[in-house]
């Protein structure tokens, strides 16, 4: 609902409402409402802010735990004061929090945004609609076009955010990317795994793949990864594709002309 309300065009009702909301978002920097008692306005502020704080604290339990409470509250307060949320669903506000952090990284340690993205992946998958299975016609992920589940979140992080806890805060980025995958399993629970560079490349190719069979994708990978024996990629890759299929990361396969046939 992001909508810019500009002062000269506002009705007196709109002005009254915006002034009231401003006192809730940012009590220190907003002029008080003349006919509202300070303690009642403070109550509104408390109810609204605590609702947002509780929502974010339960969506980002690790981030909340590892940050100093003061720092965490500062992030939440600034977000609440400045961000114009567009989603009607309070749970999805956490996704907008991640976007907000990305645009306001000043003074935050490098791992902070990556940890927030990783924690959001779990809730994002939980809130997501079911996958559309109507395209899937088979389970030959090698000779037909493998269909990747839309319910996966693949990240390539500089920091090992999946290991962050109170006793382990990484100080410098890792030499190699941490490719982390979260996905919705067949039983609707969420799976998490770290994948190696080849698996990560395969997943990335699957994400944009429109027309290539599993075998063709692997053949393309042999050219991109000359450091490996082609036979090793073909065999290892086909095992990975099957494992992805078993794990519900790849949902099945389709043929190229599936749409035309229908």
């Amino acid at each position: 609902m992001m909508y810019s309300l500009k002062l000269p065009e506002l009705t007196s009702l709109q002005q009254q409402q915006l002034a009231f909301a401003a006192c809730i978002r940012d009590p220190i920097n907003s002029p008080a409402i003349h006919d509202v008692a300070a303690d009642r306005m403070a109550l509104y502020r408390e109810l609204f802010y605590n609702n947002i704080l509780d929502t974010l604290s339960s969506a980002f339990p690790v981030l909340h735990q590892v940050l100093e409470e003061k720092h965490w509250q500062q992030l939440c307060q600034q977000f609440f004061a400045r961000h114009h949320s567009s989603t009607p669903c309070l749970s999805r506000l956490s996704g907008e929090f991640v976007d907000y952090l990305q645009g306001n990284q000043i003074n935050n340690p490098g791992w902070l945004i990556e940890l927030a993205q990783w924690e959001w992946a779990e809730l994002d998958l939980f809130l997501a609609a079911d996958a559309d299975l109507s395209l899937i016609t088979g389970d030959d992920v090698i000779n037909e076009i493998p269909v990747l589940s839309p319910l996966i979140r693949l990240h390539h992080f500089d920091y090992p955010v999946h290991r962050i806890c109170k006793d382990f805060i990484p100080e410098i980025p890792d030499q190699q990317k941490n490719s982390l995958l979260a996905w919705r399993k067949a039983d609707d629970s969420t799976g998490f795994m770290q994948v190696n560079a080849l698996s990560a490349d395969l997943l990335t190719r699957l994400q944009s793949n429109q027309q290539h069979t599993g075998q063709q994708l692997l053949a393309m990978m042999t050219e991109a990864h000359r450091e490996f024996e082609p036979a090793m990629i073909m065999q290892g890759g086909s095992e990975i594709l099957h494992a992805f299929h078993d794990a519900n990361i790849v949902l099945g396969s389709r043929t190229l002309f599936n749409k035309d046939k229908n």
């Binding site: 609902m1 992001m2 909508y3 810019s4 309300l5 506002l10 009705t11 007196s12 009702l13 709109q14 009254q16 409402q17 915006l18 009231f20 909301a21 401003a22 809730i24 978002r25 409402i33 006919d35 509202v36 008692a37 009642r40 306005m41 109550l43 509104y44 109810l47 609204f48 609702n51 947002i52 929502t55 961000h83 114009h84 949320s85 567009s86 989603t87 009607p88 669903c89 309070l90 749970s91 506000l93 939980f126 809130l127 997501a128 609609a129 079911d130 996958a131 919705r184 609707d188």
Partner: protein
Amino acid sequence: MTREGQHQSTFEQDINMNLSALQGAGLGLRRSLLDEIETLAEGELDFLEVTPENWIGIGGQYGRQLRRLAERYPLVCHGLSLSVGGPAPLDLKFIRDLKTFLDELNVVCFSEHLSYCSDHGHLYDLMPIPFTEQAVDHVAQRIMQVQDILQRRIAIENVSYYAAPSQQLSEIDFINAVLEKADCDLLLDVNNVYVNSINHHYDAYQFIDALPAARIAYMHVAGHYQESESLIVDTHGAEVVDSVWQLLDFTCQRVGSKPALLERDFNLPPMNELLKEVNLIRHYQTQQRADDVQLKIA
């Protein structure tokens, strides 16, 4: 007949058809209650109330559980983010998504708060609309717009409020003016009447008496938190207090046995405790019916 008039008569047919499916005592559905509600015997609950914002677009296990419950129970939907009194234009895409959701789950009644919850963005809680003539026009026009898109009459809930900025009208006059002007139904929150009567020093019983009984689609009861002698906070986090039960009793006597449900959002007790309160709702509803029968016999 105006175009709006035609729509309104259609809505009336819809609501009468739909609301007949709604009776007895229900419970507000929370995600953490899903498993327990699924195992309840038939008849423990007469209907469920769902917050659509929390369920629209949700798949997986929860999505399936909701669809199974929709097969077993009549559903009412109680919106949270429409911001029907808000300063920015209505979110039309959201209202269309809402319509799809209501239609898919065969929802018998949709309600929202007589409030606003956004400025330039969502704030996810209820702010007090200034009780002014200007606000009556603004809200009523928007309720009609929502009814037009949803193709159904909606119910508007009296909210608890802790301040009345820019007030020109009394709360009761404001509510009645909106109901009249928008020609919509009322979701009567009995707890909110009680909470507001303490916080704003008025007589809760007179307030109930001044409401248009025929517009009441269904009712809420809930627990609250007494912060001080003169301030109650509407938390939905405790059991319903005696004063609210008494007010429900009075309301059932005055307006007849309307469908009613228990709202509980925080500090959730075991299911059997919630069911005791649901049964207490039934007690007051049926007590009223028993009184009716006695009156007729006499």
